[in-house]
């Protein structure tokens, strides 16, 4: 599903290399977790996969369902089925949440050669997904993420994921800034989207999230590379012993 091969990336226009030969494969139906200390390049990895211009890939490749996405614009990657839940979802003043959701859904449909979603279907889909995530009608009427709490913003990310139904989702520190109740709601939202056809990459600092979203595989990232891979037990080990051994080894 998602194959990252020997990926090297640096901040555009500089010599600062952040990803240094990262290799990772996540299969369809698999939930992979990436854990790693601050500064290991986790968020950079998510941005590079999503196609942010601030980074340039100097070596390696990223394949989604066997097709390289490196030359694709961010919107083309989205239309191809890639979704990034942002660590810090952005506030967009003046853009009503509903307007944004509709624009995003229709843009992706258009890119896939499908017609616009019928207004009735759209409303039904949004209401259903919003109810499951405890998102009020009032929030949907407001400008996107403006004045939302940290938890509300994260729920809004999962709402978008539920509506866009991506083939592959990257969740970048979706647990940060969440209280226990919000963590449960968000995790349930994510778990509801697990399927045999969909792959997920969950980036986190803490084992806590993985109690709620149980991963199939766990990867440790340090200094821009995957330094250890294993099953869920690896996360528990990290929680106990910290990252130091891996960072030192990297």
């Amino acid at each position: 599903m998602l194959e990252i091969k020997n990926l090297h990336a640096r901040i555009a226009g500089t010599e600062t290399e952040i990803l240094k030969g990262l290799t990772l494969t996540v299969k369809a139906g698999e939930v992979a977790a990436i854990m790693g200390p601050n500064g290991s390049g986790k968020s950079t990895l998510s941005y590079v996969v999503a196609g942010k211009e601030d980074y340039e890939v100097t070596e390696g490749d990223i394949l989604l369902n066997g097709q390289s996405i490196l030359e694709m614009e961010p919107f083309e990657r989205a239309a191809a089925g890639l979704f990034l839940a942002f660590q810090y979802p952005l506030e967009i003043p003046g853009v009503a949440t509903m307007t944004f959701l509709k624009a995003a859904m229709n843009a992706q449909r258009k890119a896939r050669g499908e017609g616009e979603i019928a207004p009735g279907d759209f409303m039904k889909a949004v209401r259903g997904a919003a109810d499951r995530l405890g998102i009020s009608q009032d929030m949907l009427k407001r400008a996107l993420n403006v004045g939302f709490s940290g938890g509300e913003k994260k729920r809004m990310e999962i709402l978008q994921m539920a509506l866009l139904r991506p083939k592959f989702a990257i969740l970048d520190e979706t647990d940060s800034g969440l209280d226990i109740d919000a963590l449960r709601i968000v995790s349930e939202g994510v778990n509801a989207l697990r399927s045999n056809e969909r792959g997920m990459l969950v980036i986190t600092h803490y084992q806590r999230l993985l109690d709620h979203i149980k991963p199939d595989t766990v990867h440790v990232m340090a200094k821009g590379r995957i330094v250890q891979s294993g099953g869920p037990e690896l996360a528990l080990e990290l929680e106990k012993n910290g990252y130091r051994d891996f960072v030192d080894a990297a």
Binding site: A50, F75, A111
Partner: protein, 436 residues
Amino acid sequence: MTHPKPISETDLSLARQFDALVDMLPGDPAARRAAFATFEKTGLPTRRLESWHYTDWARLTGAALPPLPADASADVADASYIADPLRNLTEINALSVNGALTAHMPFPEGIEFMSFSDGMKAGNPLFDVVGTVFPDSTDPMVALNSAMYTDGLAARIGPGLKFPLPLQAICVIGARKPGALYMRGLLVVEAGAEVTIIDGLVGPEDVETQANTVTEIVVGEGAKVEYVTFNGVGGKTEVFTALGVHLGKNAMFNTLNFALGGRASRHQVHVTAAGEGARLGIRGVSLLSGNQHGDCTLVVDHAAPDCESRELFRTVLDGSATGVFQGRIGVRQAAQRTDGQMASNAILLSDDAAMNNKPELEIFADDVVCAHGATCGALDDDLLFYLQARGLPRAEAEALMVQAFCGEVLEHVSDENLRERLNGIVANWLKARAGA
């Protein structure tokens, strides 16, 4: 007669035009001569005049075009002049061509409505206020208008009258050959009346024209007025529009300027909050592309206590367009507890576009809350990436953000139909840009 100090060929030819016209124009020729003398002290404004520092009108406009004939109805008979975006908005209540009233709907009782020249000639007492609403009449363009205006519209809304729907007055510049137009407007809204007025100016796309309109508005005690000006003139037009507004006690006045057209444009607003408890909003959306030059200049004079003013201007610049915002909030010593907030924000969609922001506060009272802010920059890359990551191509992401940027001003328009039309004009402008 001799003129003291003609400073350019253009000013000289304006003087010749004035001499030929003055005795035929409505109103008192002596007052017109005095106004022209004021104009001649500077001539057409240049950078040397501080209030025109960013808009060198003399350079932007070039030669003084000959006055357009008052009767040009034949030139606009096909109505294709009227900008599409505003057509059928509401029924046009009054249509004028080159300042001359050509058609109007029957108005309900309590509205006095007339052409400016007829009112002047009849000695209607309504016209006693003409020339008094701009306290500082030394502005050369306002003075030039006072000397040269031929006609326009005037209305009085009787006390307590309330109109649920906006009244729309469209002025068409009718010109098949290059020419200039000087028009005057007067609106007196008596105590307790409530009205929304759309004041649109449109004209030919391919004929060089110059338009100078000055409108004076008096808002009586407790009256509520919303005044929307729409500049939809063609790309070869230079347009100067000025609003002078006098607010009575507890009056409420909101104005929005939508600037779309014109090779060069300047919209100038001077509001005097003369009665205590008055509330006012001055807002604007300017969409400028190509080599358009668009200027919005405001002066808010807080002369009475407990007044509130809100100024919000948003400018979107593409191509090598230039935008100007100058705003001054003045708070006199008597105007205690004034609450004034002014902001000008500009988005530059191209590297060659430029914006000049000049907000000022001048405060003589000690118990006030006043603030101003100005921003100018490209669209935020992080926001654009967020939208793109959700599947929007870059152009669509930009359009959504620009739409939102303008929408935050347009949401203050109370009439839903008008608000949607204006939002639609922004959308069309963005579409034309994407297609270009």
